[in-house]
């Protein structure tokens, strides 16, 4: 596998560590970190800063009974959260978002398929399946778009993106990602605003597909 060459910017990792990213972006960053040693190390360093701040934080005394309460509960039975692990091309955080199920692909035409994992007022995040040689319809953005490659690769005006690579596109980038020959390209794509398509037909379809 080729080394990952497009990483998470530091400010975004700090925001992720602090929990400031909206859910769609947080899912993409958690997925990238699952694939990328570099960014995991950087994230853990940011958590180190958070920890250092916590250690030197001011203190507020806790209620008298709190410690006794918690000590009494230490060995009470509890049900651990289910842990979803990587399955094929899909890293653990994506499997968690899918709650362990297989993707339910819906056609967008031209062989392109999607499964919307989450759509809300903070934005949306979806899996995209793009056959080799196929383009994602020409679009620009109202906000920020993060695209993480999980399988295959794609190229656009800014370069080539392989497994683990993260593309960050903002309002200024009007791009046409095309899946490279070989395996179909599977991406995890998050936006904080609806995409704008240039062609009139995709624009009409937009509400239908919730892109």
């Amino acid at each position: 596998m080729k080394a990952i060459s497009h990483h998470v910017p530091d400010a975004m990792l700090a925001a992720y560590a602090a929990g400031s990213l909206p859910y769609p972006f947080a899912l993409v960053i958690a997925s990238h970190v699952s694939l990328c040693i570099e960014c995991r190390a950087a994230l853990e360093a940011h958590q180190g800063i958070g920890g250092a701040l916590l250690e030197s934080a001011e203190t507020v005394a806790v209620s008298d009974g709190l410690k006794a309460d918690i000590l009494a509960r230490l060995d009470a039975p509890y049900t651990p959260e289910p842990v979803h692990r990587r399955k094929g091309a899909l890293p653990g955080p994506v499997m968690s978002a899918l709650k362990g199920r297989e993707p339910r692909w819906k056609s967008l035409g031209m062989g392109v398929r999607q499964d919307i994992l989450h759509a809300g007022k903070e934005g949306s995040v979806r899996l995209l399946y793009i056959p080799p040689g196929q383009a994602v319809p020409d679009h620009s953005h109202n906000g920020l778009e993060l695209t993480l490659v999980l399988q295959g690769s794609f190229s656009d005006a800014t370069g080539r993106f392989g497994v683990g690579d993260l593309e960050i596109a903002d309002e200024d980038l009007e791009h046409t990602p095309v899946a490279d020959p070989g395996d179909a390209c599977i991406c995890l794509a998050a936006t904080d605003a609806p995409l704008r398509f240039r062609a009139i037909v995709p624009r009409l379809l937009q509400p239908l597909f919730r892109i």
Binding site: A14, A18, I37, H46, G48, I49, T59, I70
Partner: protein, 218 residues
Amino acid sequence: MHLRIAVMLMLDLDTSRAGPIVPVMPSEEGKKVSQENTELSQQTVWMLAVRDNRDSEAFAALFDFFAPRLKAFIMRSGLSAHQSEEIVQDVMLTVWRKAAMFDPHRAQVSAWIYQIARNRQIDILRRERRPMPEELHEEPGSEADASQILALEQEARRLKAALGQLRPDQREIIEKAYMGELTHQEISQQTGLPLGTIKSRIRLGLDRLRHELRELKS
């Protein structure tokens, strides 16, 4: 688990015979404990006793140190004292239950607890599960490395020293950023200022973390 016991012996830290642990008060004394470069910090010793020996006295000591800090930390986000204490309780219970996940090669106790606390706050505030990276697991037969643990502790001490040297206004911005009070855009715009000051510290620690992470696989 036997590898972990081995590292404890290497470090001459047989916690089962450590006797009653003196809680570190939240004062200057607490900081002095970690000045010696060849010793683990008191918090790491407590956490390893919790992880490896399920030592509830050591857990009580961790509670005494972290609970009042966590409460103050959580109240900053606007929650009442009562709600904050509920979260403190959840966080400390998670520390006990997930102790096996604590890896002193990669994280300080405070960093690990910080991350648990932010997760819990977000789960409650947004009523959604915060996406987390897949956990890494030690490869079978991997050796615990005492020098790596000590190196990380040393790095963390330097980081704290660097944070301590920030001007109050810089410190305020860093605190806001790491307590989730700034958006990603706001953090990006602030990068030039205090983040830069401590960034070199992070970088130094990064090489070691990277090395450590390569030994693991998910």
